[in-house]
Amino acid sequence: MADNQTVGETLASRGISRRTFLKFCATMTSLLALPPGMAEVMAETLARTRRQSVIWLSFQECTGCTESLTRSHSPTLESLLFDAISLDYHHTLQAAAGDAAERARVQAMQDNAGKYLVIVDGSIPLKDGGVYSTIAGHSNLDMLKETAAGAAAIIAVGTCATYGGLPHANPNPTGAVAVSDIIKDKPIVNVPGCPPIATVITGVVAHFLTLGTLPELDSLGRPKVFFGDTIHDRCYRRPFYDQGKFAKTFDDEGARSGWCLYELGCKGPTTHNACATVKWNGGTSFPIESGHPCLGCSEPNFWDAGSFYQALSAKTLPLSAHAGAALAVGAAAGVAVGLVSRAKKKAAARQHTRVSADDLEKGGGA
């Protein structure tokens, strides 16, 4: 896949007009909250640059993230991004197989040392020497370390790569960890979500391609421009929450009236993502709009945060065993203290010295 074409040349060879590309850039400036006048500059710069070498590593994952990017049956603006990059290694998308595929990766790393972008989806198993996921005889850990060494930056895509995701869920049989748990010396952008919104992945890559920098990140390494607000902050059903109108079941009057899904377990209040604004499937809808509570998939450990259908404030672990034990120990402690107290009272009664008139006369008692 590696070639030396400019982005402009690639676009031309695919029959995509520069006008369409300008439209793409204009959309990106809007999405990334960049100055709107940058669209033309962005388009011109991008067209003249060589296509960015991108190595996409897939570890313990389900390919949902890739699906999210490529799912559309019609060419979309987002997919234009593939024309602006040179995707030199990607299990699902590359034509090459076996040794040839691995050679492509090594070649890209050599040709673009220090400049290539690594995109990772999937978590990395560490348990038992990383044996639970290997590619071409290399453990994921080795491949990540080797590939990351010469990268300009890493974009961790999907909740598995960003926080460990499903493989990391209790009891985490493979010892799965996130990219950021392993790589400490490279800039990493986390684009969580299960899967992440395609536009958000595209936006981050576009930011890097056009400005040569990574977007501003929050404390969990997520681009603030997409993850700055919670779903709840931007939810169109928020007025119902504020009015205290909640759907109680999936088929009651409240559900049909489009009321707030908090009671059905919506994790919107604690979930940072752009679903409520960017939406899914080309801007058609997002889970809450379709009547389903937010699962909180772009937050760490969302698999272990209790039932998807239990309210956010509910407990996540059973209490009865602890409560029972505490009550038993409490009763025992209480009885122990109480019995000692009773013994003390009895002893005090035995030691009671009768107060007599003589005692009072002496002024001091016995």
Binding site: R19, K23, F24, T29, P36, T76, L80, S257, N281, G283
Partner: protein
């Protein structure tokens, strides 16, 4: 293609508060950009999506600006509509994706929006394509003759 009307969802919007509308401020910004264009020929652009507009603000702004002479439709992986407003030099550009959803919306202050122009590169590609066609035509003619 919004599914809202099909799944019986009522969308509630906050009550409109005219006093807090961004329209007056926006109009002043457009005025400044237009003055700049007249004075120095510099283009300006406002990303409507980046502003915390109240529901109905965009429609109010559009109504205030009015309709001009140009209303162009572009098909570029989804429709793009470029309209000149009633204020000449002020354009309203709406980008939609292949599904018809608006993905970006701008007010542009310029003589001709870039989206309407043909890029020189595209023109070159067009020329090449035209020459291919001509070559084919000549070839056909030769075969026929």
């Amino acid at each position: 293609m919004s599914g809202l009307e099909h799944i019986g969802v009522q969308v509630v919007t906050a009550p409109q508060d005219g006093a807090r509308s961004y329209v007056p401020a926006l109009l002043r910004e457009i005025e400044a950009l237009l003055a700049e264009l007249v004075a120095s020929g510099r283009h300006g652009r406002i990303d409507l999506r980046s502003l915390p507009l109240l529901p109905g603000d965009d429609a109010r702004l559009a109504a205030l600006l009015g309709n001009g002479e140009v209303d162009a439709a572009i098909q570029a992986m989804g429709g793009t509509r470029v309209r000149e407003t009633g204020v000449a030099g002020v354009w309203w550009v709406t980008h939609a994706n292949a599904d018809g959803e608006t993905v970006a919306e701008f007010v542009e202050v310029t003589l001709v929006p870039e989206m309407l122009k043909t890029h020189p590169q595209d023109a070159r590609t067009g020329l090449a394509r035209l020459r291919e066609r001509l070559a084919e035509l000549t070839h056909e003619g030769e075969t026929d003759g």
